[in-house]
């Protein structure tokens, strides 16, 4: 498949890196090489230093963060420390995860020109190069558009285009699809696959969810939690021979290598007919733009409902409206048969919980314990009762050791758990989640789903999830699909997967469980 001979681009030689404490390095004694035109997948648990490694490879770290490193990295046999500033960046390009924070200009053409200007390409050549690269990434004609008006998927393509203009030999992609909707994700991966075949380009892909990348991957590198490289080799040996080790380290496992197709546990819907929330003819406008038009929706007590749809379809707005966070003018929202806007705020907040996409937004105090008791203090609980409840929550959410830690200093998964725990000081009747698994790794997602299931089963809490993750949608009692200001599907997830029209319209995708069946033959070949 690949052009011979394999020439090395990068040699990483006993390389270690740490932010503060060289005794416990984030990257520990790494030894590996990257070759011309190969595609390598870098996997590892969250917090294992994958992103830092990417920036070390193109020489931005350790200087940019005043970190400490030891060992050497060679680019084509030359130590990267000997390169002039900016020189190495042009040979090794990086596309980052967050589409919002990798641009510095307003218009697409200016952003692309920025790269060319850095390379001192003559002005006259620029327009031609810009339109060529936009053609290559399938984004012709967007030169004059403003970047913030593009969708997430389009932004990532522009980011890719701007890096391709460097004409790099090695392209590093740091979770490039983590913030994209399911279909944009597939499109982006297909695009890379075709680019890789047309250009002389080595790829190093950092991913939480390796599944979709496996077809184009030549080799896999696995980073352990201690910052050591625990395995490297072709995908089929990595995920079979080293399976036990990888699992122990909390590395995300491709679903096709999981023997029992682990789902998030499908539960039979409760036969409750009592409506907790009922939305009637709701229309919502933001300035002159109509976000939701005549939406009707009922949610029953104890139900687990998921809301899906492409970015900007109004999912989060609907969630905020149902939680009483946004005022509405047209239509009705009844919470326990009473108009939401007639509820006393204090009462309402006791019964409705809302978990935001970014857990940091919710933190109010300086320690974990204060965070958990905050609501209880406001409601005048006794010290004893506070202590009891907080201890119970810390135990349940594995936060006992972090009692006095600052919430902002916790790891991603811990922050997520704390943000949920803080909502449970008094068990709410309904709990809203706004894309809680966005950019989280497998174990955090699994943990969260476990907690949610527990809440639903033990306390009969109604759960509403806004999510892009089709595997989560698959495991809920009911799926609601928003598209173009309205609900276009409302029913059993099982039935949703039959509706190809809805799936295409709302830019969704089938869950792995069903895709897996369709691909079974291919996977069989991969393993054996």
């Amino acid at each position: 498949m690949k052009k011979e001979p394999f020439n090395r681009i990068l040699d990483v030689n006993n390389f270690s890196f740490s932010y503060e404490n060289p005794e416990a390095p984030l990257l520990n004694n790494l030894l590996f090489s990257l070759y011309e035109n190969e595609t390598v997948l870098l996997i590892g648990a969250s917090g294992s230093g994958k992103s830092s490694l990417a920036l070390c490879l193109n020489g931005l770290y350790p200087e940019a963060v005043e970190g400490v490193s030891s060992g050497n990295i060679y680019y084509r046999g030359k130590n990267i420390r000997e390169f002039q500033k900016g020189e190495l960046n042009q040979r090794i390009g990086i596309v980052f995860q967050d589409p919002e924070s990798q641009f510095c200009m307003i218009k697409v053409e200016d952003e692309l020109a920025f790269t060319l200007e850095n390379r001192k390409i003559p002005s006259l050549e620029m327009p031609q190069r810009i339109s060529q690269v936009l053609h290559d990434v399938g984004m012709e004609g967007v030169e004059k558009k403003k970047i913030h008006e593009l969708s997430g998927g389009q932004k990532q393509k522009v980011a890719l285009a701007s890096v391709l203009l460097l004409e790099p030999e090695l392209l590093i992609l740091d979770e490039p699809t983590a913030n994209l909707d399911p279909l944009s994700r597939v499109e982006f991966i297909d695009l890379l696959n075709s680019l890789r075949q047309k250009r002389d380009l080595a790829l190093l892909i950092i991913e939480h969810e390796p599944d979709d990348w496996l077809d184009m991957t030549d080799r896999v590198l696995a980073l352990g939690s201690s910052g050591k490289l625990i395995a490297q080799g072709p995908a089929n040996t990595i995920f079979t021979k080293h399976a036990a080790r990888l699992k122990k380290e909390g590395v995300f496992f491709p679903k096709c290598y999981m023997p029992e197709n682990k789902n998030f546990g499908v539960r039979a819907p409760l036969p409750s007919s009592e409506e907790i929330i009922s939305v009637k003819d709701l229309t919502f406008k933001r300035k002159r733009h109509t976000v939701l038009q005549n939406v009707n929706l009922n949610i029953h007590c104890g139900e687990f409902v998921s809301i899906a749809g492409e970015n900007g379809a109004g999912k989060s707005t609907l969630l905020q409206l149902m939680a009483g966070l946004l005022p509405y003018k047209k239509g009705k929202i009844l919470f326990f048969d009473r108009e939401l806007q007639q509820w006393n705020q204090k009462e309402l907040r006791k019964q409705i919980g809302y978990v935001f996409q970014n857990p940091e937004h919710q933190f109010i105090t300086d320690t974990v314990i204060d965070e958990l008791t905050y609501g209880m203090k406001l409601n005048g609980y006794t010290e004893e009762k506070q202590e009891d409840a907080a201890t119970r929550l810390m135990k349940q959410f594995h936060l006992m050791h972090h009692r006095f830690s600052n919430p902002f200093s916790l790891s991603g998964g811990q922050k997520r758990r704390l943000s949920v725990a803080a909502m449970l000081d008094q068990t709410p009747d309904i709990l809203f989640f706004d894309e809680p698994t966005f950019g989280q790794d497998a174990s955090t997602t699994g943990e969260l789903m476990h907690i949610v299931r527990q809440l639903q089963a033990e306390y009969d809490v109604t759960i509403v999830f806004v999510t892009h993750d089709m595997d989560i949608v698959d495991s809920t009692d009911r799926a609601i699909v928003l598209h173009d200001r309205n609900i276009i599907f409302n029913g059993n997830p099982e039935d949703l997967w039959e509706r190809e029209d809805v799936i295409n319209q709302a830019r969704l995708r089938l869950p792995y469980r069903i895709r897996g069946i369709q691909q079974e033959g291919v996977i069989h070949d991969l393993i054996h």
Binding site: A64, G86, M105, T115, M126, A323, Q362, A422
Partner: protein, 259 residues
């Protein structure tokens, strides 16, 4: 039309009358110049009158207030002439009234000039021309340009924070102490996120080969052409003519000195 003038040159052009006018304390000079600016705004610049009025009208109130204050509290130098009328025991003289009106007109001139610049200038091009014409270091100009992108992000983050805190009942805390606490609660995550994002952007810029090197090519070649000089001469020339006419008619007053 005016949007095609070199932005750096435009900035200088409006700064010259803006500064010089602040020394004229008579009514005639700023009035004539104000009319001139209005004519330019509605003929040569491609500005929608409604847009302009919307932004301009609040400043009229500001100008009126400051004019009135200046009238009431005019310095001795300026309170010459006969007493026109008395208000709450304060004598309003001819001189103080003129000074007040003049101040109002000057502030209107300044607002109109600023609007003429702001409404016809592309912020990106302004930065690029500051870099190319005035040799501002690329680190600063591209830093500011990247900062532009943050403004809307900041606003939406603030909205989310407010909601998140409402969910926790955080706005229930009464008193000034509670308010200070709340400000701190907003400020820390906003700043933390802002820092994190700007760090990310900086790294993304560097990884696209940006070094802050002044030697770079330019996609938008900004240059100063004849029409830019003409624009400058138009504004500076009109100022000179206005002052000259004002002088010959005996109206001109600079810092209280009548000429």
């Amino acid at each position: 039309m005016i949007s095609s003038i070199n932005p750096a040159m435009k900035a200088v052009t409006i700064m010259v009358p803006g500064l010089l006018l602040s020394f004229t304390f008579d009514v005639f000079t700023p009035l004539v110049y104000f009319i001139f600016i209005l004519i330019i705004t509605f003929t040569l610049a491609d500005i929608r009158p409604m847009t302009w009025l919307k932004i301009f009208s609040p400043f009229v109130l500001v100008a009126l207030t400051s004019a009135w204050m200046a009238t009431l509290y005019a310095n001795q130098t300026f309170s010459y002439g006969n007493v026109l009328f008395t208000i709450w025991g304060v004598d309003i003289t001819e001189g103080s009234l003129m000074t007040g009106i003049s101040l109002g007109l000057r502030s209107l001139c300044f607002v109109a000039l600023s609007l003429l610049f702001a409404l016809t200038t592309d912020s990106t091009k302004f930065m690029l021309s500051l870099m190319q014409q005035f040799k501002l270091p690329p680190k600063i100009t591209f830093g500011i340009l990247a900062g532009y992108r943050f403004l809307p992000v900041f606003r939406s983050e603030y909205q989310i924070l407010k909601q998140a805190h409402r969910i926790r009942g955080a706005d229930r805390e009464p008193g000034i102490k509670g308010r200070i606490k709340q400000f701190r609660r907003y400020a820390i995550p906003l700043l933390a996120n802002g820092l994190r994002k700007s760090e990310r952007v900086a790294i993304a810029m560097e990884s696209k080969g940006f070094t802050g090197d002044k030697e770079r090519t330019h996609y938008h070649q900004m240059s100063i052409q004849t029409k830019d000089w003409l624009f400058f001469i138009l504004f500076a020339g009109m100022l000179a003519i206005t002052i000259a006419v004002s002088y010959s008619l005996g109206y001109l007053n600079i810092f209280g000195r009548q000429f």
